[in-house]
Symmetry: C2
Amino acid sequence: MMNIKRCKFNPIVTCKDVVPSSRDFEVIGAFNPGAALYKGEIVLAMRVAERFKDNNDGHIKIPVIDGQSAALKTVDLDKEDDRYDFSDSRVIKEKDSCCDFVYLTSMSHVRLARSTDGVNFKIEDKPFIFPENRYESFGIEDPRITEIDGSYFITYSSVSQYGIVTSLAVTSDFKDYKKLGNIFETENKDVVIFPEKINGRYFALNRPVSKSTGDPVIWISESYDLLHWGNHRILACTRKGHWDSEKIGAGIPPVKTDRGWLELYHGVDDQGHYSMGALLLDVNCPSRIIARSEKPLLDPRMDYETGGFFSNVVFPCGAVKKHEKLYIYYGISDNSIGLAAAALEDILSTLG
Amino acid sequence: MMNIKRCKFNPIVTCKDVVPSSRDFEVIGAFNPGAALYKGEIVLAMRVAERFKDNNDGHIKIPVIDGQSAALKTVDLDKEDDRYDFSDSRVIKEKDSCCDFVYLTSMSHVRLARSTDGVNFKIEDKPFIFPENRYESFGIEDPRITEIDGSYFITYSSVSQYGIVTSLAVTSDFKDYKKLGNIFETENKDVVIFPEKINGRYFALNRPVSKSTGDPVIWISESYDLLHWGNHRILACTRKGHWDSEKIGAGIPPVKTDRGWLELYHGVDDQGHYSMGALLLDVNCPSRIIARSEKPLLDPRMDYETGGFFSNVVFPCGAVKKHEKLYIYYGISDNSIGLAAAALEDILSTLG
């Protein structure tokens, strides 16, 4: 096993550290953070999941955003309502349906946290990006940040009754931001943008999901303006019998190294465990894979990783490079945030 | 009911009219045709579905294209194999799976047919576009043609083990063509491109399908070059209790009229019947709906429409305008081709 070290203070952020966005809410998770270096600080754009506090009277109250007014509404469901299946703590399903959900039990937004040492974070009291339109009515999730020429582009999953799309926002100061619309249609998430043009084009990894057939796998797409994407191709597939046999999705925005683009991605095995591994992509032709982790670089094994809201999940979304070392911020079990660090050289050495 | 007239020679093309692409195949459908006017002729780009002839010994032979070599391969399944569900004549499913298919029983390609009168078609002996890559390994389906400045852009669904994407090809002479890659990722089909730029941008209607939640509905997307698409938004949703309650998808490429863009689309009701209705879209802002059919303009009611391989389907994919009359070519029950004609004015008059 390579020399990748979890921070001894893990989890470095938990839901207890986060002030709810409303007095009616409790925070049930602060996880899956995008990461950036900004003016000497490490900024995390965390996914903060909240639910209504008073849910103990045989009803469940679900927060949703009205797509027209952007106002917060409550959907009140009777737990005896036999149209619905309440057995999954994360979602409400329709009985006898193949759909994954009709509602989520919580709603997520994007919250910022800042640190000078990368370990101790000051978490903002208010949301940074909050859901507000019809594509975001069930929440916004799993932000990833890519800096391009001083602009920080943030991709995030917008979840609604219409499915899961990937939207784009941009900020230059982590105070204000501008939403730039939906860049990948339902159903697509885990979108990471490369930090520079390659042969005149931007590239993004993304993870479309097919209803009809096939495992969720990583695709690569191209753009001239970050807003319009095309030339969609499959980059990497699941590997039966491996740690990434069931689903894979991009994790951190690719990091340029001497040997190529390093992508840390998540893979799901046949036990439903989410681990982190690496792809090394040709520096001039990122649709070409040079190497891929035979074994995970990080898998759920610590107590704080094997428990949680949705257990056994290691889910990297952001990393910061400092002095040839990579500081990897990863979501832990849809609940909290972990930090793991390794020398870039050590990670690359695992890739043959 | 409006004055829309089916051709008395319907179905104007059936599978009996089509020469198989290989002596091992039988043609089981010629349907869902894109249509174009080219040098005074009406050209149909038909979906031709074929399967292996000898499938009666307890085995089923499935045609697939090898994604590497582009060679035709055979997958041979034992009908006693209890991993699979053979009950749907169109697809092979995995038992206890939510996926729609693991294989298709037939493979489709695009075949051309030409006519001077719009009714009697001469069908080419050879395929025009044949599946050849990993995205097309189960076949290519449901072409739509949009002429832009003398180039004919053909969108089609590419089907494979990786799902259903929409690919683009272009021809200027209906002899040679060039494939331009995948323009919409899995799962997305029923893509129709508007025939001109609007406010400097191209527009396309498309139909992403969500695995997680929501009905399949019509989205609208924008592009500067027809290859890269963005600003994805929902155009029209299903309407519970209506003829288009379960799914909707674009049919013909939009036709410019005095009152706006006329889109003939398909809707599926709670009986699974596919009918055709209209959307009228703002001529300068096609994401704005001006009017929508309360009732279908064409629904499956003739004997030849209520039977067939997959019965009760009226599925428009192409139309040609001549002398202010619209000649609509529609797929009949995944099997044959029908023609219906109406004055544009008559169609518009149904839209208030």
